[in-house]
């Protein structure tokens, strides 16, 4: 009977891992409900059994902003391009923490989920994608907070000028998410073999923050070091973001295009490696 059946009748063929480019994008679409459930789980479960609950979403950036204002603004006296320090730091922190959260969270995908991955099949890319989306919720809430502060300062007549480039925000978010995801899944794929990277990530992200204009404006940099900071794809994103909402800093389309290309390449490499590792990692993790 089986002789009658043709090859095409088989819905699935499991073979040894070969090639780098057989993605299962259809599968991801089929499992979109799972993506939604993961996002929901993250959101509901994170602040269970905490007293302040979702209020932590606000508390984190506020406390960091206050610390930065005191340490970098009042003690180290780093200029903020004439913008109220609170707004300056908060805008930087909100953006940076979205990117760095995306990166660190997705970088532990395989190791943290080895338990589930070892028991049931679903497209593994769902997990980092769900991380990105649930972090986006946190980001939106913090954005809301930033906007409140912005309105307060605007009404008090400080020199902040939100302008039309605000419309670029969704694109900026996409860039940050793409970069975080791209780097994150590259690291997560490599950590299945080399655990050292886990330690490197936390440290590296922290260092990278100082190579990004989070606590200082681009204009305050000596020309000698400017190229290093400009080579960082996050620089133009945060700079554009500040320009759009606060009206300070620079807006340079060339730098933004550089970041976009950087993001696309990183993400592409990430997906290829991730896709390869997802089939073999059970034996190495």
């Amino acid at each position: 009977m089986s002789k009658l059946s043709t090859e095409s009748e088989w819905t699935l063929e499991i073979k040894p891992v070969t090639g780098w480019f057989n993605f299962h994008l259809k599968d991801i679409w089929r499992y979109r409900d799972l993506l939604f459930m993961f996002v929901r789980r993250d959101f509901v479960a994170v602040y269970k059994q905490t007293i302040l609950g979702p209020f932590w979403f606000f508390l984190q950036p506020i406390l960091t902003t206050i610390t930065f204002t005191i340490v970098f603004g009042n003690i180290a006296k780093i200029p903020t391009d004439g913008i109220p320090p609170i707004l300056f730091y908060m805008s930087g922190i909100v953006c940076w923490s979205y990117f760095s959260d995306c990166l660190t969270r997705t970088s532990s995908t395989f190791v943290a989920n080895a338990n589930i991955f070892g028991k049931v099949y679903f497209p593994r890319l769902i997990t980092p994608l769900s991380n990105i989306i649930s972090l986006l919720m946190k980001f939106s809430i913090q954005m809301l907070l930033l906007v409140c502060f912005l309105i307060y300062y605007k009404l008090n007549g400080s020199g902040v000028n939100p302008n039309i480039t605000i419309l670029l925000t969704p694109f900026l978010i996409l860039l940050m998410a793409g970069l975080g995801l791209g780097f994150g899944i590259i690291v997560s794929s490599l950590t299945t073999k080399y655990r050292d990277l886990t330690f490197l990530v936390g440290f590296g992200v922290q260092l990278l923050m100082y190579a990004t204009p989070v606590i200082y404006p681009l204009s305050a940099l000596p020309d000698k070091y400017k190229w290093i900071v400009l080579a960082n794809p996050m620089t133009s994103i945060i700079d554009t973001f500040r320009y759009a909402f606060l009206g300070a800093g620079t807006f340079s389309p060339e730098n933004l295009i550089y970041s976009t290309v950087f993001m696309v390449i990183t993400l592409a490499i990430g997906i290829v490696i991730f896709n390869r590792v997802e089939k073999t990692f059970m034996d190495t993790v």
Partner: protein, 443 residues
């Protein structure tokens, strides 16, 4: 019925010890071989998978050249000792791990249940977890919604459905998790030893559900378990995996018998561990050096028909001087382990010095025990029955299997429900019956 799963030459190589940190030189060797179009050089040195023997190679075939087919709507069992490769096979079938060689062709949607409650989040309520777990197993939201009531009903934890599952007892947890899985509607359901937890009522429910899934809905079920009774009740065909290779496959009843022999494949000689207090007891003064169960033609067998003659060929060795030597052989009942029958012979009355040895044969003629499995008990002692000069082999060999055979003379009226162990010769004579009036009218 057509085949829904075809497994061809499936092999899986694992590296022991330092998994995941292959050396750079090995990586380069592998790369070089690939550039020249050769096979991966490390694939050749794999050894068969036997966990108890220390091997010389770092590479081990967890599975080697596995071939089998599963038919549409079949309930297919997989059994094997711990570490035989069952889970590896299931992992490959459910796409969690990739094979090293070979292919698996599958027709239809596969859902695997290698563990119940995969992805359950302890902080979420039972309700949330039903949706989460369902999605992980591949169900869509509307699908889960439509089955939600039936899932809750099946699990029997309705009262706690809005409580976080971290407050559940482990039994409740498993019930809820299995309930979700039971409502999957894949064409092929792969189930691994999930019935280990849960009370017997729930186990029965699960087995029943799996039977329903296959019989009423025509789905295929692949079931792995150490619970042979469950396999026997559920599966039509069974596969035994041993050391990563297929040991036997076919009709469940026959395969399970082979498995029984495999599990007790212990070589009994005068060196077999004597400290094993469960199956072998004694102080080493006298020892069995071999025990063989034969038919009258001298073939090794553990399975006999009613009416056959069973021959026990036993050799022994003396390690400390003993006075006289006796042997007992007993058949035990499979469940209660009571002694059903015991034969006792005196081999010699005289003194035996250390280093003496001998061989005896004992025949059980015209065996007349009802069909079933009977563990064997052997005991060697001196004439005084001194506990110090004793060697006992208790259920260490494969059990004796008695089958009905062609001899139906003593067949009992309800097959499959043995009442007692022996077919006692008896007869009944009806002397007188007094029916009462009402009944006689009805007649």
């Amino acid at each position: 019925m057509s085949d829904v799963i075809i497994v061809e030459d499936l092999s899986k190589l694992y590296r022991l010890g330092m998994v995941g940190t292959r050396t750079i030189s090995e990586d380069l060797n592998r790369l070089w071989a690939r550039v020249r179009g050769r096979e991966n050089p490390y694939l050749k040195i794999g050894e068969t998978n036997n966990r108890s023997v220390k091997g010389s190679s770092e590479y081990v075939w967890a599975l080697k050249d596995i071939n089998f087919k599963v038919k549409d709507g079949q309930r297919f069992g997989i059994i094997g000792k711990n570490g035989a490769g069952k889970s590896t096979l299931l992992k490959i079938l459910s796409r969690v791990a990739s094979p090293t060689k070979g292919t698996v062709k599958v027709k239809g949607r596969v859902a695997s249940l290698l563990e119940v409650g995969t992805g359950f989040h302890p902080e979420l309520t039972g309700r949330d977890n039903i949706f989460l777990n369902g999605a992980i197993l591949g169900m869509t939201q509307p699908e889960i919604k439509s089955k939600f009531d039936s899932i809750v009903d099946f699990s029997g934890v309705e009262r706690y459905i809005d409580t976080p599952v971290k407050r559940y007892s482990s039994g409740m947890y498993v019930r809820l998790a299995f309930a979700v899985a039971a409502h999957l509607e894949p064409e092929i359901l792969i189930v691994d030893e999930v019935l280990a937890v849960g009370d017997s009522e729930f186990q029965k429910k699960c087995l029943g559900k799996m039977q329903d899934v296959s019989e009423k809905e025509g789905r295929t079920v692949i079931f792995v378990s150490h619970n042979l009774q469950a396999i026997k009740n559920l599966c039509q065909e069974t596969l035994i995996i041993n050391n990563g290779e297929i040991f036997a496959s076919g009709q469940t009843e026959e395969t399970l018998r082979v498995y029984g022999e495999l599990m007790r494949e212990v070589k009994i000689d005068d060196k077999t561990d004597i400290n094993n207090s469960i199956n072998r007891r004694g102080k080493g003064a006298v020892r069995f050096s071999s025990i063989n169960v034969l038919d009258t033609d001298g073939n090794k067998r553990f399975s006999f028909d009613i009416g056959d003659t069973i021959r026990f060929k036993i050799s022994y060795k003396i390690f400390k001087q003993v006075k006289g030597l006796t042997i007992s052989i007993a058949l035990l009942s499979g469940l209660s382990r009571e002694c059903l029958t015991l034969v006792h012979y005196e081999i010699t009355k005289f003194k035996l010095e250390a280093g003496a040895s001998g061989e005896i044969e004992i025949d059980f003629f015209d065996i007349n025990i009802k069909p079933g499995e009977y563990p064997l008990y052997f005991e060697l002692t001196d004439a005084q029955m001194d506990g110090n000069n004793k060697d006992v082999i208790d259920d260490l060999t494969a059990p004796l299997v008695i089958k009905r055979g062609n001899n139906n003379a003593n067949s009992d009226f309800s097959p499959g429900k043995p009442a007692g162990f022996f077919a006692t010769s008896s007869r009944m004579v009806v002397n007188e019956i007094q029916y009462n009036e009402i009944l006689s009218k009805a007649l």
